[in-house]
């Protein structure tokens, strides 16, 4: 029997699920190997019986936390889809303020107490609420990587998620280092798998795929010093997608 696959979204732009739709003709191949049983953005049908759950988005409210726990109970394999789910993403930038401050900024004079829709807590990544089996990083995810992960899961294999820096892929592509052009890049400490998409497009890596498991902070520091930049510059930049990541040193 084909594995039953479900997609769920929380606080996000739904751009990662869009990458699944953006597989274009390959979607026709995808539905050959899996049964999509729930995908609210694209289909009306819904089933609570699924093997693999893909979760997009970060967790912002108690009602979302309960919903996520319910999904975890039903899913054999749970995959976090994209930066918001994996590491909090840009959503977590709001964690620089307390929830009270944020609510006051946003709702001003409107009374939103006792309204569960507005009951936000400091933003969480998915693995701060439930166990995550696999991560597909990026903002948005890379659709080819998504295809590879699904294929591995269908074959009962462990998907391979890179644990080497973006620089490796960037060098392979023969790009001129963007630091040379006076731009800032987080490539030396960011997890690869995007095929160095941003540096290849003439922009610095923004760290959307999160820190490596063991980032070589010494080499990043070396690079920063070479171009007259400080660790604080890098830490500020890193806040864009991984506000909570702790970079030692």
């Amino acid at each position: 029997m084909k594995p039953r696959v479900a997609f769920f979204d929380f606080a996000s732009c739904e751009g990662c699920q869009l990458q699944v739709i953006n597989l274009e003709e390959s979607i026709l191949d995808l539905v050959e190997i899996v049964d999509v049983v729930s995908f609210r953005e694209a289909m009306k049908e819904h089933s609570d019986e699924y093997d693999i759950a893909f979760i997009e988005g970060s967790i912002a409210r108690p009602m979302d936390e309960e919903r996520l726990k319910g999904i975890r109970e039903k899913a054999r394999i749970l995959v976090a889809l994209g930066a918001c789910a994996c590491i909090g993403g840009v959503n977590s930038l709001r964690n620089q303020f307390s929830v009270e401050e944020v609510k006051k900024m946003v709702y001003a004079d409107t009374d939103v107490r006792n309204n569960p829709y507005f009951d936000a807590f400091p933003l969480k990544a998915v693995d701060e609420v439930v166990k995550v089996d696999y991560y597909i990083h990026g903002c948005p995810i890379d659709r080819d990587e998504f295809g590879k992960v699904v294929t591995a899961l269908v074959l009962g294999k462990k998907p391979e998620i890179p644990n080497y820096p973006v620089c490796v892929e960037c060098k392979k592509k023969g790009n001129v280092c963007v630091f040379e052009e006076g731009k800032f890049c987080l490539g030396p400490v960011t997890r690869a798998g995007c095929n160095a998409r941003c540096p290849t497009s003439g922009a610095g890596c923004e760290g959307c795929r999160g820190l490596l498991d063991d980032p070589n902070t010494d080499s990043e520091l070396e690079v920063l010093q070479k171009y007259g930049l400080t660790l604080q510059d890098a830490l500020d930049k890193f806040k864009l997608f991984c506000y909570k990541s702790k970079v030692k040193k």
Binding site: Q19, I21, N22, A42, M43, V106, R197, G202, A203
Partner: protein, 433 residues
């Protein structure tokens, strides 16, 4: 129908984001009908505060996965206006080309994947892969072209990379543009086939009308998408800088998105609004498509928004060819970007696929954001959806429809607006300082 009806569609499907439809009736009379937005609020205003001007478009493009390019451009225009940055004609043309790509991508996604299942009487595009594979393949072909356009100009289909304050970090080569032109020419016919597929099923769209106000960008020399002033079918032209007196947002308890009103109790933005304001400036083939459907200004049927989107897809393709020809004629040039960072306030308005979009930023002298406000198309449509529902629901109750049919019609109404609910709960609109 005389029985009591209780409809609660929780998390409406085939729309972007989370919304609910509620209808309760007793003895054939509506007791409650409501369009609710339950999406988790995302607090973008807290995200951008104290961030560098160069990061604003990166952060705010994440308001929406489907119209990230429009968000990036509204953001860049606001920042460029705040800092007095002028962009080159080449940058302007490339941005217009990218916006065409995104408009096609978003519209074909909506008409082909989200609306078409209702026309074919199925729950999603997946069963159509078996029953109407040829139609699905055509829809996919148009979708692919649109994504390739965005990929080429922006470095990525979703969340653009190359588009920065003042210009582009990378521009396409001459050969890439020639290839793209050939592919667009090759796909216009396919888009025409998709038009015919929808035309053959257009009787499934309810014939419902309610007079309302339509708002969108308008300008004298083209079908306005990137630039223009704010046009209203009720009150004429207004400056973009007056956007707050047009959108007048407020908070309602059953929705985490704000509502908006201008001259009446609600207004509509999006493809139908643009068509109603600017149809005379459509490309020749796009006008032919409108004629095929008998779409004429002013059209007050919200369900025809999907048809207006098809008209725009053809316009986007034809106008893209014109832009590419002009770029090739001029020759492409790698341009240096120089920004003089300074304190300032700027407003950017563009047409996103779902309607007029405003970003409004204030920066300090170091180029850090101190105040931000965004007004999203779907926010501007929520009140109009509600008003349509209030008129449509009693009609459906008296028309001998089953509860299932009533539910489907209400769902189709919301879907027709192509709501982007994550966008509308961005909450970037509170003043700082």
């Amino acid at each position: 129908m005389s029985e009591d009806v209780r409809i609660k569609v929780e998390h409406l499907t085939r729309v972007e984001g989370h919304g609910n439809i509620v209808l309760n009736s007793k003895n054939g009379r509506v007791e409650e009908v409501q369009w609710q937005v339950s999406e988790a609020p995302r607090f973008f205003e807290a995200m951008v505060v104290e961030r560098d001007y160069s990061e604003l478009s990166i952060i705010t493009s994440r308001i929406c996965g489907i119209c990230s390019i429009a968000h990036a451009f509204a953001s860049l225009k606001a920042t460029e206006s705040a800092m007095g940055v002028k962009i080159s004609d080449q940058t302007l043309m490339l941005r217009k080309l990218a916006l065409h790509g995104e408009n096609i991508q978003s519209h074909i996604l909506h008409v082909g994947y989200l609306v078409a299942p209702d026309l074919f009487g199925v729950g999603s595009v997946f069963p159509l892969i078996n029953t109407s594979k040829e139609a699905v393949v055509k829809i996919v072909k148009v979708h692919r072209l649109a994504n390739e356009m965005c990929d080429l100009i922006c470095g990525r289909t979703t969340h653009p990379i190359t588009t920065v304050v003042g210009g582009f970090t990378k521009i396409p080569t001459k050969k890439e543009l020639i290839d793209l032109k050939a592919r667009i020419e090759n796909t216009i016919k396919t888009a025409g086939d998709v038009v015919d597929i929808v035309l053959a099923n257009v009787d499934k769209l309810p014939k419902f009308t309610r007079e309302t106000e339509y708002i969108g960008l308008t300008c004298d020399d083209e079908y306005a998408l990137y630039d223009g002033v704010v046009g209203s079918t009720d009150t004429g032209k207004h400056e973009v800088n007056e956007y707050e007196s047009i959108t007048n947002e407020w908070v309602v308890p059953h929705s985490t998105a704000k509502y908006a009103k201008h001259n009446r109790e609600s207004y509509m933005v999006g493809a139908l609004a643009r068509f109603n304001l600017n149809s005379a400036k459509l490309s020749p083939l796009a006008k032919e498509v409108a004629d095929k459907f008998g779409l004429k200004t002013l059209c007050y049927n919200p369900f025809m928004n999907s048809v207006a989107q098809l008209v725009e897809i053809v316009h986007n393709m034809e106008d893209s060819i014109r832009i590419i020809d002009e770029l090739l004629n001029r020759g492409l040039e790698k341009e240096k970007i120089k920004i003089g960072v300074k304190a300032g306030h700027g407003i950017g308005g563009v047409e996103a696929p779902r309607g007029i979009l405003f970003h409004d930023y204030t920066y300090d002298k170091n180029g850090k954001c101190v105040k931000a406000n965004c007004v999203i198309p779907t926010n501007q449509n929520h009140a109009n959806i509600q008003k349509d529902m209030e008129l449509l629901a009693p009609m459906l109750l008296t028309n001998e429809k089953t509860e299932k049919e009533i539910e489907l019609n209400l769902e189709m109404l919301v879907r027709a607006y192509d709501p982007c609910i994550s966008c509308s709960t961005h909450y970037l609109n509170v003043k700082f300082v």
